[in-house]
Amino acid sequence: MTKLKLALYWASSCGGCEIAVLDTNEKILDVVAIADIVLWPVAVDFKYHHIEAMPDSAIDVCLFNGAIRSSEHEKVAKLLRAKSKVMAAFGSCACFGGIPSLGNLTNRAEIFHTVYEEAPSNENPSRTVPKTATTVDGHHLELPETYDTVMTLEQVVPVEYFIPGCPPTVDLILKVVSALANNSLPPPGTVIASDKSLCEECYRKKEDKKITRVWRPHQIVPDPEKCLLEQGVICCGPATRGGCGALCIKANMPCEGCFGPPAGVLDQGAKLVSAIASIYQASGEEDVSRMLDEIVDPVGRFYRFGLAHSLLRRKRMTPPGTLSAAKQPLAEVTAR
């Protein structure tokens, strides 16, 4: 059998998705039994020019992790798209923007200011910030452009499959490997996880769908048997796709939402707001106002892993004209 050609790439990411692949332990041998790896920066030495020299569609499958944060990420995403028959968004950052897309609550100028000018560990009297082109001692050097707005992979190139998770679990990765080995990939557009919400696979008892207040973690020790949301702990379960086996729940921690919205849910945060609003016992404006005070940092709570993918997409850029605009206007956001 001809071996598949497999590429693994990281854009704006932490490397956790690469480690998840290695967490398959000896099963990684199943991967190399069916596939030759043509690009995997963390583990093997191939350069961009090797990929550029390949004919189009020479790569069978590209597992792309990380969000699109810079012109380099966009360029490599487009290069790998052209060279790959199948493009899969691997992990929450590629699927939904992930934690890096919390950067959509700010912009490039603010990030550069904090990181290069304000950070107490910096010594930068000349207030140097990264430039896309500069000359040092007569040598011309270039850096990619950092964008104002973090994007998902699908917002820059067509994507066939979505493998969510921060990081994707070993079980899901092995499911993908097995589908590749048996040539039994699901129809394009499939999210390789459960279609249902995490609550469907959560073992906790759900009884009394009423809460009278929302607790922060330091204010409560939750009962490990009962539904966390019914105890007043914000759990993203009702608005999050299942498929992880309720890992965080088993550690008595609420679901963080890393698998993104379940099938049929357009906006994860809106779904969670709806779930909380439907169980919070409020009899008047005073109660509602108290509830809002109890939920600190709603955008960070409800869109922790998916701001780029959400309907909100980003904080409005202000003042207009002084900073480069978001790559695509909000009106162009479409539902998957």
């Binding site: 690469e18 963390v42 583990a43 350069k47 810079s70 919390l102 921060c166 922060r216 963080e256």
Partner: protein, 63 residues
């Protein structure tokens, strides 16, 4: 002048590119390590509740 570009740097965690400028004799005149990667955790952690920090900052590096 000749230039050698190593892009990307591989077999490590993180993104990097090296530009090596050679002189007329072929020796190294200057070499630059560039990190074409920034996410801005320093900025977007500001103002978030303390309980979010373990969830957010563990994603600085997942290795």
């Amino acid at each position: 002048m000749n230039k050698v570009t190593i892009d990307p740097i591989t077999r490590l965690e993180g993104h990097g590119k090296i530009e090596i400028f050679l002189n007329d004799e072929g020796g190294v005149e200057n070499a630059y390590l560039q990190i074409p990667e920034l996410r801005g955790f320093e900025r977007f952690c500001e103002g978030r509740p303390v309980e979010e920090m373990p969830r957010i900052t563990e994603r600085i590096c997942g290795v």
